[in-house]
Every structure is written in C-alpha cells, then in structure tokens.
C-alpha cells in the first residue's frame, strides 16, 4: 500500500461562521497538501447549522473535501471521535488545528487516541525533501524556539493563535460528505449546558491606539478606576487580562490575551500583569510596552520596553497627575526622536 500523506484540518464554527484560526489551519493544510501532491480536506462537527453552503465555503480556503459529522459543537470528545474515524479510514497523515482552547484539547486527545505525535504553539510548518513535516514551536514562555519532527504516524499540529494566515481564493468549492462515526463510550458524559456566553458591552480594542491593561496585580475591581483615569489621560481604553476578568474585576469584552482579542496599539501599558506567554501572544503586535509590576521577577519584564518595579497605588495617581499637567502646560515637542 502506498503510504498516505494527505492533510486534514479541523474547522471550529459558531453562529454560522468559522473561526479565523480554523480558516488559517485549512489554508495551511492546503498549502502543505499541494506541496505533497495531495488534496487537503477539512472536517466540521456540529448540528443543523452546518448546511451544505457553509461547509462548501471552506473550499475557498483550499479544502477540496469537507467531512461533516453531526454531533454537539464546542466539546472536544465528539470532534476527536469524528476526526479519528476519518483519519483511520482516509488517506490522511497529518491533522492541523488552529489552536485556541478547543484546538489543544482535540489535538492532544486525537494524538493519544491514534498513537501519534502532537506539537502545540506551532509558529511554522514545513516539509522536508522527503515529505516529512517539521514544525517550529515556541517553548518556555517564548524564551526558546524548537524544531520538532514526528516519529511515525499520524502527526497532529496545533497552531499558535494567529500563526496560520487565512488565505481566501474566490470560486473554489469543496465536496461535502457526511461521516458517521462511533462515539466513544464517554462522549456523552460531557454535556454543553450553555455555550459562548458574552458578558459586558462590546468594545473595539482591536482599533485602540493606546491600551491600559490590568491584571491580577491590580488587586480588585476598584483598582481599575486608576487604570481608567490613566487611559483617559493617554487617550486610550482599558483592557484586562483573563485572570482579572475571571476574577470578576472587569468585563469579559475588555479581555486581551490569547483567549481574548488580539490587539495592536502603539502603546500598551500593562499594570499588575505578570505577562505569561498566553497574554504575550495576544499583545505581540503592540508598538511599545510599558509594564508596572511590584514583582521584579514577573515575566513581563522580559518583553516590555520600559518597566517600573513598584506599587500601582503609589505610581498610577502620580503618573495620571503628571500626564494631565504635562498635557496642559507644554506644547508638543518638535524635536525629532528615533
């Protein structure tokens, strides 16, 4: 039997559209498959909302075939069951997932089920001359990058958020086929009671020029008032890390980081933010990063441009006063700075 080398991408969806990182995974699968002289396929898992037109739209990102499995959306297990079933029967050597929480869960369990290898936080994937996949992944809170190869089959690739660009071509469509899979005995022991609840007003952090973000070190909801004053002095908006949002100090809609929105401000002020990798990934496009944290060992000081080791309660009121006063008194500098 000819060894198979096809590439299958999982596409996550909600409310009638696919996740951007999933479209990136499909595009990347198509790129790799074409180098291998194979066809890329995508797999989707969900209910009636997955109509033919929606599934076929993945053809615009390079999938030639789309497998559709009817099972609850948003949970890992049904997706693992469906993907494993397709990979066992079909000509697929590699599975690609776009990352995020569900991508990691599905990819990890899939590798365990099929006895394959899995890599995560993948920034780049490429093929060797002999058609084997090698990935570049980030490790140790981004302080190292590692090239990893797969031993045996299959290989599961979980991209870092935003690592694979969605590349759209007009006019291409995909063949949609339904797959029937055997659910694993424990698949119905996890049930989605409520999915994708949004909390708080919608904010457009993606467009903000200046973002003042608060993390666990802010200490509570009242601490965010100083952040709001600082944001207003700088003409910016307030954001919060996942830890601060989960603690109920600031609304979900203001969350930045890997599971929040990716942002690209000219200035990012991180207050009491430890700066773990997941947060860093979400703000990597920021122009300049100013970090204020009482813990000199906080990881954020490894990637900030300017850091102040000290107490927010002492520093922020003074900074707000200084900025307000400076804004009133001094004309903008005409000196060129680089």
């Amino acid at each position: 039997m000819q060894p198979v080398s096809g590439v299958l991408a999982y596409a996550l969806h909600n409310e009638g559209s696919f996740h951007r990182d999933s479209l990136g995974a499909v595009s990347e699968a198509a790129r790799l498959a074409s180098e291998l002289g194979e066809e890329a396929a995508a797999i989707v898992v969900g209910g009636d909302e997955l109509d033919d037109a929606l599934c076929a739209s993945l053809g615009r990102y390079g999938a030639r075939r789309v497998y559709r499995a009817r099972a609850p959306a948003g949970l890992a297990e049904p997706a693992v069951d469906a993907i494993a079933s397709v990979m066992r029967r079909g000509p697929y050597r590699y599975a690609l997932l776009g990352g995020g929480l569900l991508g990691v869960e599905i990819g990890a369990a899939l590798a365990a089920r099929l006895g394959g290898g899995v890599t995560m936080e993948v920034i780049e994937a490429r093929l060797t001359g002999s058609g084997d996949l090698v990935v570049l992944r980030s490790a140790l809170r981004d302080s190292a990058r590692v090239r990893v190869g797969y031993v045996g089959r299959p290989g599961v690739v979980i991209g870092r958020r935003g690592a694979f660009a969605a590349v759209e071509h007009d006019g291409s469509s995909a063949t949609v086929s339904d797959v029937v899979h055997e659910p694993s005995p424990w698949a119905n022991r996890a049930r989605m009671l409520r999915r994708g609840e949004r909390r708080g007003p919608e904010l457009d952090l993606g467009q903000a020029e200046v973002i003042v973000a608060g993390g666990r070190g802010v200490g509570g909801a009242e601490g965010f008032r100083d952040l709001e004053a600082l944001a207003s002095a700088l003409g910016g908006v307030v954001a919060a890390t996942r830890a601060a949002v989960d603690a109920g100090w600031y609304p979900y809609s203001a969350q930045v980081g890997q599971t929040g929105k990716a942002v690209s401000p000219r200035l990012y002020v991180a207050c009491g933010v430890s700066g773990a990798t997941q947060h860093r990934v979400g703000v990597q496009a920021a122009g300049a990063v100013l970090a204020i944290n009482r813990d000199a060992g906080a990881p954020i000081f490894a990637w900030a441009d300017m850091g102040v080791v000290g107490e927010l309660a002492e520093l922020l009121p003074r900074l707000i006063r200084a900025l307000s006063a400076a804004g009133d008194a001094t004309p903008p500098s005409l000196e060129s700075t680089t």
């Binding site: 996550l12 909600n14 996740h19 948003g74 949970l75 890992a76 929480l101 990691v104 869960e105 599905i106 990890a108 369990a109 590798a111 365990a112 394959g116 290898g117 899995v118 140790l140 302080s143 190292a144 990058r145 590692v146 090239r147 990893v148 190869g149 797969y150 031993v151 424990w186 022991r189 996890a190 989605m192 009671l193 999915r195 994708g196 609840e197 949004r198 996942r242 949002v245 989960d246 603690a247 599971t259 997941q278 300049a288 100013l290 009482r294 990881p299 000081f301 490894a302 300017m306 102040v308 080791v309 000290g310 002492e314 520093l315 900074l319 200084a322 900025l323 400076a326 500098s333 700075t337």
Partner: protein, 259 residues
C-alpha cells in the same frame, strides 16, 4: 491530583541545545497552577458533599520532584506517589500522559485535577491526553467548579465566550488561577509533610510498557533548539521612588511621541 515540579519563576529557564530537554538545574518548586488544583481538591473535601475519601498527589520526574509532593502534602494531600524511572526521561507529551494515566488508574480516582498550564506550554494538553488514556471526559482551563452528586459543573472561557459544561464523574479537569486563592500551609502541616512518606513507583511497578515511554516511545523528536531573535533589553526603573520613576516614564513616553 497531578502535580508538577517547575523551575522557580525567578530562575531563567533554558533548553539543553543537544537533547532539546529542559535543563533541570536551578531552584525548583510546585507549578503555581497546581496549587490552585490542590486548593480545589481541599475545598471539595471541606464541603464534604459528597465526601472526598482521599486526596492523592501524583508526580512524574527525577528524584528532586519528590519536593513538590511534600508541598502537596503540606497543602492537604493525604498520600503522595512519585513515578520515577530513568526509562521515562525524554517522554513526549503523549507518552507522559500515558505513563501518568497508568499510575492514576491504580488509584481509581473519581476526579483527576491538575493545573492548566506550566512553563513549557504542553500542560494545556495534559488533561485531554490523560482523559483519553483513562476513558474519562476531560475539560481544561476551568475557572469555576461546582460538584453536585456525581456531576461536576464547570465554567470556562472558550473561543466564543463563557461555556458551562457538565461532566459525569469520574472525569479529568485542569484548572486556572482564577478558580481560587490557594492557602499557605501552616507550620505544623509543613513539618508533618516533611516527615510523611512518599511512595516511589518504578515504571515496571506502575505497569508502564517501556517501549511506550522515554525517547524510544515518543512520537515527536526535538531536532533543534533556537533562541528567538534578541530584543532590546527592558529599561527597568525602581518604583520605590515614585516621583522619580514617574518623571522617567513621562520622559520615555515623550521620547516616543506617545503622549
């Protein structure tokens, strides 16, 4: 309970350029996220509905990793199991999950708890791999946990907002740091934990097939380690003199045209 020894956050971490493995020298301690998992286990026992029979802490790693088990004992674990064997060195994440699952299944747990992440980023995947190996539902990055009889209600932030998921026990759950505030162990508990026994298991004793772990049993191979492109070092200002620090920050913002 799965716990893991990680480098002290203050110690710079590096990968050995030849083996691609984490350089394990330097001060080490309990993965901070595992402390939240331990706290969750202790709180479940305190709420006592249904009664928690026993909290067992399990780790895998070289000899020194037993330190984190003592820490777990001081925080409320009743027993500690240390899976330690040279054949395990260099296991990929799937092989590690397989080995841990073999130890866990001996204990017949109703709930396996672990921290959602550690420095190497692979812990995000561990709950799913262990769940798959044990044939249990798994959920990761949980920020709220409620036990009612034999079902567990878990809230977490997923791609599209907050999800509420119900799991039937037995199950595997990884938790985030918003779940709770871990307590500090009392002096008495620390002393007791120092003297408490830690059971050590070899791979063979745990029923681990040697060809499925270590470098030979791994499904991925590190080919090269590269440092990311260096960036300009951070300018650090001492904030214990707030007036001077603020002056410097305002000047820095001005230099960049950011105010």
């Amino acid at each position: 309970m799965l716990v893991k020894e990680v480098p002290d956050p203050g110690v710079p971490k590096r990968l050995d350029p030849t083996s691609g493995r984490l350089d394990r020298t330097g001060a080490r301690g309990l993965n901070p996220f595992d402390a939240h998992a331990l706290e969750a286990a202790v709180r479940l026992r305190e709420s006592a509905i249904p009664p928690v029979e026993k909290i067992v802490a399990v780790t895998m790693g070289p000899d020194g990793a037993a330190r984190v088990l003592r820490r777990a004992l001081s925080m409320g674990a009743d027993r500690a199991l240390h899976l330690s064997d040279p054949v395990l060195a260099g296991s990929c994440v799937v092989a590690t999950g397989y080995a841990l699952a073999r130890v866990l299944e001996r204990e017949r747990p109703d709930l396996v708890l672990l921290g959602q992440q550690s420095d190497d980023g692979e812990c995000y995947a561990m709950a799913s791999i262990v769940g798959e190996q044990l044939g249990m539902p798994a959920l990761s990055q949980v920020s709220r946990l409620e036990l009612a009889g034999a079902t567990l209600r878990c809230e977490r932030q997923a791609e599209y907002g907050y999800d509420l998921v119900e799991l039937d026990l037995p199950a595997v759950v990884s938790v985030g740091d918003a779940l709770n505030e871990p307590r500090y162990p009392s002096l008495k508990a620390l002393v007791r934990a120092r003297e408490a026994p830690v059971e050590t298991l070899s791979a063979a004793a745990a029923g681990i097939e040697p060809h499925r772990v270590g470098a030979i049993g791994s499904h991925t191979r590190v080919l090269a380690v590269a440092e990311p492109a260096a960036r300009a070092p951070v300018e650090l200002v001492d904030g214990s003199h707030p007036e001077a620090a603020v002056e410097r920050v305002v000047a820095w913002l001005g230099e960049r045209g950011l105010r």
